[in-house]
Symmetry: none
Subunit: 216 residues, 4 copies
C-alpha cells in the first residue's frame, strides 16, 4: 500500500481533449467492473467479454471505445486503486508525530486499508504481477519510496539504527503486500494481530542499538 504518481497518469494529457462528464462516468463504471472481474476470476480470465457482462454493457466494443486498449484499461484500474490508497494514507498520516509513530501508523493504516478494500487490492496485485502495467523501471522505487522516507527520517532524527533504508523498506513493504495472498489462504486471518506483530517486529528491527551512539 503506497501512494505514487501513477494515478496521475489517468489525468490530462497534452494532445487530448478533456473528457466529458458522461465519458468519465462510463470509464468509472468500466473500471469498477474490471476490478470486480479481476478480483473474481483473476487477470487471465478477465476478458473484455467478462468485464462487459459484469458492467451490463452490451458490447465489448464500448470498452475499446473508451480505452485505447487493454493496457490503458489496466492502467486506469491500477490508477484508481492507487488513488484510493493515496487519499486514505494521506489522511491517516497527517496527525503523525515522529518517525516511530509514523512507521507504526503506516503499517497499521496500510493493513487497515487492505482489509477494507480486499477486492481492489486483489485486482491491483493481479495487474502488477501479470506485468499488465508497463510502469517503468522505477516501479519498485516508487513502491518503496514512502516507507524509505519514513525510515530515513528516523535515521536522521537518531531514532533508528543505521541500515540500508531500501532493504528495510523492502522488508516492511513486502510484509504488508503479503496480506492479500495471506487472506486468500486464511480468510479469517486476524489482521489486527498481524499488524501488532509487524509493528513490534519492525520496532525491534529499526531501534537504535546501544552500541550505535558510542561506537559510531
Amino acid at each position: 500500500v503506497r501512494a505514487t504518481s501513477v494515478g496521475a497518469a489517468a489525468e490530462a494529457e497534452p494532445g487530448r481533449r478533456a473528457r466529458t462528464f458522461i465519458e468519465d462516468a462510463r470509464r468509472a463504471q468500466i473500471v469498477a467492473a474490471a476490478i470486480e472481474t479481476i478480483a473474481e476470476l483473476g487477470y487471465r480470465q478477465a476478458s473484455f467479454a467478462q468485464i462487459a457482462r459484469r458492467a451490463g454493457l452490451s458490447s465489448t466494443g464500448l470498452i475499446s471505445y473508451h480505452f485505447a486498449g487493454k493496457a490503458e484499461l489496466m492502467q486506469a484500474v491500477a490508477g484508481q486503486v492507487i488513488g484510493l490508497i493515496a487519499a486514505d494514507m494521506t489522511e491517516r498520516m497527517r496527525p503523525v508525530a515522529g518517525p516511530a509513530q509514523a512507521l507504526e501508523t503506516y503499517v497499521r493504516a496500510s493493513i487497515g486499508f487492505i482489509a477494507a478494500h480486499r477486492r481492489e487490492m486483489t485486482a491491483l496485485l493481479e495487474i502488477l504481477l501479470n506485468g499488465a502495467l508497463d510502469y517503468g523501471p522505477d516501479a519498485e522505487l516508487v513502491t518503496l519510496t514512502p516507507v524509505s522516507e519514513i525510515l530515513r527520517a528516523g535515521q536522521a532524527a537518531g531514532e533508528f539504527r543505521e541500515f540500508d533504508s531500501r532493504v528495510l523498506a523492502t522488508v516492511i513493504q513486502r510484509s504488508i503486500d503479503a496480506v492479500p495472498l495471506l487472506l486468500a489462504t486464511y480468510p479469517d486471518l486476524d489482521l489486527a494481530s498481524y499488524a501488532d506483530e509487524l509493528v513490534t517486529t519492525f520496532r525491534l528491527a529499526t531501534a537504535r542499538q546501544p552500541a550505535d551512539g558510542a561506537a559510531r
Copy 2:
C-alpha cells in the same frame, strides 16, 4: 525459496510406463525452453508456439506429445526448479548448528540460489503467481513451513523471543521472494549486502528480549 514435495510429482506414477532416455531428454529440453520463454516474455505470452520456437521444435504438437497439457508442462517446470532449490538448500543447511545460524544460513543460501538462478526463479514466480499450479489452498503454508520451523525451533530453544511464527515467517520469506523483482528493477543490486542487511535485521527482530526471561 523453499523445498516442497511438488518436485516428486515428476517421478514415477503407477499406471504409467517408465520414460525413455530420449523422452527424458526431450522433456528436459522443452522444460528448459519453457523456463527461458517464461522468464523472457512472462507467463501469458509463453505460448506453446513460442516455447517450441525457442526449443527448435518443428511443431507445437511435439510439446503436446510429451506433456499431457499445458498444466503438466508448467508443473514440470515448477517441479524442476523446486527440485533444484531443494537439492541446493538441503546441501547448504546440513552443517548448520543452532537456530540462529540456521536462520542466517537459510537467508544467505536462499538469496545465493536466486542470484545463481535468476531465470529459473523468475519462471517459477510467474507460474505461481498466475495460478498455473493447482497446488492446494495450503500453498502459502507450504511456502512458509521451512522458515516457520526454524523460528519455532529457536523459540523452543529459548534463543528467539516470543512472536507468532507465521507472521515472522511471512516477513522473512517475503523479503527473500522480493529479490527476483528487485533484480528486475536493479540488475546490479549487490545481493551480498542485501543478504547482510537481512541477516542483521532478522537477528534483531527475533532476538530474545531482556524482559522475556523475567516477565514470562
Copy 3:
C-alpha cells in the same frame, strides 16, 4: 420423416436476450451453409472451415461468435430441418380421415418431403447417425412414435390386424428413411412409384385378416 419437439430448442431461452434480425439472418445463413456442407462432404468433413468457406465468411470465428459450439450449430441444423418437416407434415395430415388413409398419406407425404428436400434430409441423417445430437435415449422412440400412433389407432378401430406396433412402425419408418440413401445411389429413382409400392405393401401388411375377426 417425423416431427418432434427438438425444433423448439431453437426458440427463446430464459436467461438469453432476444436475437437481432441481422443475427437471425446470419445464423440462418450459417445453418444453410452447414446443411450444404454436410450434405456434400458428410458430417466428419464438415469442419467450421468448410462451412465458413461455403457461407462466404471471413473466419471460422464468426461461427463460434453466433453459435456456442459445434453441438449448438448441429442442433440448430437439426431443429431447422425438423421444423420444416413438422410444418409440412402437420399441414398434409390435417384432412386425413381414418387410419388407412392416414398411413397412406403419411408415407406419401414423408417421401414427398424427402424428394423436395434432399440435401436437408441428408444433413439431418448424417447428424443423427453421428450422434451429434445429444437427444436422449428415446431417440428411436420419438422417431417411431407418429407411425406407431397411426398403427395403434388402426388396430383400435378394427381396421388393422393384430401385430406389434413397434415392429411395424420400424418397418415403415425405415423404408421411408431409406430414401435419401437410395437417392444417393439412384439419383433418378422414381419416388412416386416407390411411394405407390410402399403404400400397397403396407396396406397388405396391416390389413385385417379373414381369421382375425373369427379366431380372436
Copy 4:
C-alpha cells in the same frame, strides 16, 4: 446383413507380394481391436491411438505399417465382418427349399447373426454410415441383391405377388438393418419376437393375391 464382394478386396492384388503368416496375424489382431474400439467409442473416436492401445501395440506406427491408411484398415474391418456374414448366411441358406422358406430363413438368419455379433455389426454400421468405405455407387445395389434375388425367384415361381423387387428388398433389408440401432435403444429387445413379426409381415406383404392369377 448381406454377402458382397467387398470382402474380396482384402485378398491378393496384382502388384503386391503375398503376406507372411505373422503379417496376417498382426492384421487380424489390429482388425479385431478396431472392431472393439469402434463398437465401444464410435467411428469418430476410434483413433489409431485408441485402437493401438486396445490391441496392446506400443505404437500407432505399427498400424500404419500394416495398413496403407485408415481407409484400408476400415475396408479390412468391413471385409472381415462381411466375410463372417457371408459364411454364416451361406451355411444357413443351404437347406432351404422354395422362395417362401428362403425369405423366412433369410430374415431369421440375418437377425440371428446380428444378435450373435452385436459388436461386429455395430462397427460395420458405423463404418458404412461414416462413409469410411469408398465403396462405389452400387453399394445399395450390392446390399439389396440377395433379398432381391429371393423375391424375384418367388415371383418367377408364382408364389409372390407382383411388385417392384427393389422396393420390397429395401423394405425388408432396412427392417433387418434397423436391429443394431434398436438394440442400442432397447438392449433387452426380444429378437425372436421381432423376427416372428417380420416374417409374418413380409409373408403378408409378398403373398400372391387372389386377383393376381385372374387379372393378369
